[in-house]
């Protein structure tokens, strides 16, 4: 059991008639950075809250670090660091006071506490902010503080709910580097995101849409097992040919980026380049390209919508 840190089976949660998480089964192996990818409202936060024991499932089971949640949530909480999507530290307390409070709650003694707080403040560049109130900090600063709070007790499992929202690109890169540093020390990470480039960096992904899991696996597996091929069409005015592509049955999706049109075709199209060329016309060039997680996402979510 020790190689699976989070396991859910048939996990569902309703709010009234609305099904926020629908029959979710997933396994997250230890020592990985596992992405939880899905658009806003796809049920990521709700699923995460059930994993942390903050919401009771309507149906299904959750096991975290080999223990049943919510039954053993009290014990599980000691080994899990949780970073909430909404900033949840005390806005009227300083950075340092917030961190000390969390250390105390976790029972660190005075010297451990001082050392650890100094350590994480250095690691997440909070030193200069230590005596500033948390409330007026910028979005990125708040995120760094929240992350520092989550890793304070060196948890075995980190659950991060959209840790990089409202964060500038530099801080985002910095935070992802720290995720991998933390993972290297033997901590497993579940990180939710709606950003494709972040998903691309994960070891493995669970992709959510409208409360349901639509795909999961390692990033490489997801790409290779995609039931589609991707063709790039370039030429003078790709906007004008986009409607033709969208109208074609064989086309799963077509989206412009710059002067190119990215066309995702059904796998059963035998010669995708020629097909695309045919639709586009003489002035355009079509070339095969590798699938990205975004392509995977587009395909699996559109499949979901057809059911």
């Amino acid at each position: 059991m020790s190689d699976i840190v989070i396991a859910t089976r048939g996990l569902s949660r309703c709010f009234g008639d609305f099904v926020a998480v629908d029959n979710l089964s997933m396994n997250i192996p230890a020592n990985t950075v596992h992405g939880f990818l899905g658009p806003n409202g796809s049920g990521k936060t709700t699923a995460i809250r059930m994993m942390c024991g903050l919401l009771d499932p309507s149906e299904g089971e959750v096991e975290v670090l080999g223990m049943q949640v919510p039954a053993q949530a009290a014990i599980v909480r000691r080994s899990v660091g949780y970073m909430t999507q909404r900033f949840s530290m005390y806005e009227d307390m300083t950075v340092e006071q917030n961190l000390h409070f969390l250390c105390r709650i976790h029972g660190l003694n005075a010297s451990e506490r001082r050392n650890r707080v100094t350590e994480v403040m250095a690691e997440y560049r909070l030193g200069d902010l230590s005596s500033r109130a948390a409330g007026p900090l910028s979005g990125g600063q708040k995120r760094r503080l929240a992350l520092a709070g989550a890793v304070l007790t060196r948890p075995k499992l980190l659950i991060l709910d959209e840790p990089t929202s409202e964060v500038d690109p530099n801080t985002r890169r910095e935070m992802w580097e720290s995720f991998f540093r933390i993972a290297a020390t033997g901590t497993s990470i579940l990180v939710s995101t709606h950003l494709m480039d972040e998903a691309e960096r994960c070891h493995a992904l669970t992709i959510m849409n409208q409360g349901r899991k639509v795909a999961d696996g390692t990033v490489a597996d997801l790409k290779t097992s995609l039931n589609a091929t991707v063709v790039i069409v370039s030429g003078p005015d790709v906007a004008s040919i986009t409607p033709q592509f969208n109208a074609a049955e064989e086309v799963l999706a077509a989206a412009q980026s710059g002067n190119e049109l990215r066309v995702i075709l059904h796998n059963d199209v035998a010669q995708p380049e020629q097909f695309a060329q045919g639709v586009a016309g003489e002035q355009y060039r079509a070339a095969l390209t590798d699938a990205t997680i975004e392509d995977v996402f587009v395909v699996v979510t559109s499949e979901g919508e057809r059911d």
């Binding site: 009290a74 949840s88 105390r104 709650i105």
Partner: protein
């Protein structure tokens, strides 16, 4: 156990930090007792004028008539009826027909010139209205000098006032202990009523319940700072009461402090209960006021408890303030011993345990 204490301490210190940062709340701790004490303490000393009294003049001389005339000239009393015998006057007061009865003995003139300094007449006062009673009581020192005698030889202690129902009666003595109850109810319940619902509203609860802290630890950690504040308020009120209104505690200070502590806990428990049930801070405030108004109106702070309708009395019996007022007035005014107030103290202690228990039941470590 030790870990549990540490977590309580963590919550306790967090609350202290937040209180220190929250100037408004911090100021309220001191300013509310101050303002209320000044407001209520001084308004009870308003002038009392033209209180209707029944007169029994057994002398019927020009001396007694001048005495009555001079007494009326103070504008405090107005003779509304003449009765024949002293018993009639006392009965009239008992029946509530008149607020007081003035009884002038046949030998008033002899008493005036006697060496012993006997009182000249007697004023029998209905003591249930404290404001009026204290004004009439002040007539005891009314200086009377009939025209015939040497000028400037005013005589003190003209009138022996007998308060039938509360001989020790002084308004401040009655009001200041009552204010202790009002102020503690107001601040203690109000502060804790928002204590938990505020964390929910601000999103801190999601962080807090994902930590190993347990509900009881959270509640105790949150209560203790307010308990300290409550006792500071008690000290402020008693000191100011003594200093401004000359209220001295007749009974045991230790018993008084203990009673206040029990009452503080009762209010904190109620506040927590509100906080675990309220949907948001506004809702918590509304629930608080729903409870606070009857506390003021029914507890005997505003109106005499025994004069209330039976149903109101039953209602009042479930309010901690009713019991606390009995205890605190007993100790401050009558030197009541522990045995005399233990019943009310037990109620307050039970009230705390009940509300704390219900709060713990109502507080789930969940977001919904």
């Amino acid at each position: 156990m030790l870990a549990s204490l540490k977590r309580m301490l963590a919550v306790f210190m967090k609350e202290i930090i937040q209180l220190k940062n929250d100037r408004l709340t911090f100021a309220m701790v001191v300013v509310i007792p101050l303002i209320q004490l000044l407001l209520f303490g001084y308004t009870i000393n308003t002038d009392v004028r033209d209180v209707p009294i029944a007169l029994v003049d057994e002398a019927g001389t020009s001396f007694s008539r001048q005495f009555i005339h001079d007494l009326e000239a103070t504008q405090v009393i107005r003779v509304a009826a003449q009765l024949a015998v002293p018993d009639e006057a006392a009965q009239a007061v008992t029946d509530g027909d008149y607020s007081a009865g003035l009884i002038i003995p046949a030998d008033i003139e002899r008493r005036f010139y006697a060496e012993a300094g006997e009182p000249l007449a007697q004023l029998v006062v209905d003591g249930s209205d404290t404001v009026m009673a204290s004004a009439l009581k002040a007539l005891a020192g009314f200086p009377f000098s009939p025209g015939e005698v040497v000028a400037n030889q005013a005589r003190q202690g003209t009138l022996a006032v007998t308060l039938l129902y509360n001989p020790e009666q002084r308004a401040a003595l009655f009001t200041v202990p009552g204010l202790l109850g009002v102020i503690l109810t107001m601040t203690m319940t109000m502060f804790t009523a928002i204590a938990i619902v505020r964390e929910r509203e601000r999103g801190n609860m999601e962080l807090l319940i994902a930590t190993p802290v347990k509900p009881l630890e959270l509640m105790v950690g949150k209560l203790v700072p307010y308990m300290v504040i409550g006792m500071v308020q008690v000290a402020i009120i008693l000191l100011l009461g003594h200093w401004l209104f000359d209220v001295t505690v007749v009974g045991s200070y230790l018993l008084l402090a203990f009673s206040c502590l029990v009452f503080v806990f009762a209010n904190l428990g109620l506040g927590l209960l509100i906080s675990t049930r309220a949907p948001n801070q506004l809702g918590a405030m509304q629930m608080f006021i729903f409870f606070f108004l009857p506390s003021i109106l029914l507890s005997g702070f505003m109106f005499p408890f025994v004069a209330m309708p039976q149903v109101a009395q039953w209602l009042a019996e479930v309010l901690p303030m009713t019991h606390f007022l009995r205890v605190v007035r007993g100790i401050v005014l009558r030197d009541a011993p522990l045995t005399a107030v233990s019943g009310d103290l037990l109620f307050l202690g039970g009230f705390f345990l009940l509300t704390l228990g219900l709060s713990l039941l109502g507080f789930r470590q969940k977001l919904d």
